[in-house]
Amino acid sequence: MCYEKAVKVELEGKMYNVEKPMQVSRLLQQFSLSRETHLVIVNNRLVTEDYRLQKDDQIKLIRVVSGG
């Protein structure tokens, strides 16, 4: 894997690397997450599904569903 291009993604307190820049909608697909259940924060900003991730972006996926 080429680490230079890796995008770091945080989900439920764990860090993941994705290999190359892509659209947020692709990213959600890769993690098998639905846009209804997860929000995507990039560099502390909430973004829409068509946002294109850049290298060095800091990404956090936030689950919106709560139980009980």
Binding site: S34, T37, L46, T48, V64, V65, G68
Partner: protein, 320 residues
């Protein structure tokens, strides 16, 4: 995507409304919807004294924050279930919000009453934690209203909560609950406070976005007992439908409200009695809470801690 209102980069796409909005315009859009909901369904009216049932999660903290922003000053009530770190963190988030809003929050520690956390209380009476928890919370939330003079109890139930509950009630045809999910449940004078759900037209996704964009610091972890909740399964099914047909959840709940107007009349006349000990509505001569207290041989009165938003000290040691 561009913001439909101002043309800047959008922060959220809302397919159910066929729109996309930037952070500021989304906050405005959502607050306006809640404000319209409150007025249209007469949830809170002039002269009312609302109190918000808070858990530390995104919905209850957001509705608390939102009401105060919309000009409905409201205090909070929290039931500390005594579940280790989860309850401790929740309480911290709640006291922080109380401080931010300069409002009071009442806290009832389950451990102060039963000397046990909710899981042990439940085990003793052979119930699952959620069943004991629900019963105690309903009772305590009502008691705070009656004892301290709040006339409207506000909860953070959102569109997804309501749609999941409705789906569950329909799947098993739970007639006795089916028509009782109104966004506003009227009071029974001196016995039961009015209960309202200002977020019932706001999806969970919208509420999470609102919390994030408004800088509301909520507890992200779930109650450890929520893993078994059937409602999570219903929510997931509804979200699959929502993904292929945006607006499904909204239509489901709006259709329900429309049908409720005619259906509820037939259902309303079941006789309601009141607990001979405390006055809470029940179907025997004693309510479940009084039975539970008896079962544990507890005679002391249920007392609340009060944390005043203006003089809050969040480092104060809490019983958990």
């Amino acid at each position: 995507m561009k913001c439909r209102v101002c043309g800047q980069e959008a922060s959220i796409g809302l397919r159910a409304y066929n729109t996309a909005l930037c952070a500021d315009d989304f906050i405005f859009f959502l607050e306006k919807r809640v404000s319209t909901t409150i007025r249209k369904y007469h949830l809170i009216e002039t002269g009312d004294t609302p109190i918000v049932a808070v858990s530390g999660g995104k919905d209850s903290l957001s509705v608390w924050y939102l009401l105060n922003r919309l000009g409905y000053p409201a205090d909070g009530i929290y039931v500390d279930l005594g579940i280790g770190d989860y309850s401790r963190t929740s309480l911290t988030k709640i006291t922080q919000m109380a401080e931010k809003l300069c409002r009071k929050v009442y806290v009832l520690h389950v451990r102060d009453i039963f000397d046990k956390g909710i899981d042990e209380v439940a085990r003793t009476i052979r119930r699952v934690p959620c069943s004991a928890c629900g019963m105690i919370k309903r009772y305590v939330m009502n008691k705070i209203c009656i004892d301290k003079g709040y006339n409207v109890l506000v909860t953070g139930h959102n569109l997804d909560d309501e749609a999941a509950a409705l789906l569950g009630n329909l799947l098993y045809w739970k007639d006795e609950y089916l028509w009782k999910k109104s966004p506003s449940l009227e009071s029974k004078d001196g016995h039961l406070s009015k209960k309202v759900k200002p977020l019932f037209l706001c999806s969970e996704r919208e509420m999470a976005a609102y919390a994030v964009l408004s800088g509301i610091d909520y507890i992200y972890e779930e109650c450890p007992f929520s893993v078994d909740a059937k409602s999570l399964e219903y929510k997931s099914i509804l979200n699959k439908l929502e993904e292929s047909s945006p607006g499904t959840k909204l239509q489901f709940i709006k259709g329900y409200l429309k049908n409720m107007k005619t259906a509820r009349k037939d259902n309303e006349n079941r006789d309601m009695a009141y607990c001979t000990t405390c006055g809470y509505p029940c179907y025997g001569d004693k309510c479940n809470m009084c039975r539970l207290l008896e079962r544990f041989h507890i005679e002391k009165a249920i007392a609340f801690d009060e944390y005043d938003g203006s003089t809050l000290d969040s480092n104060r040691v809490m019983v958990t």
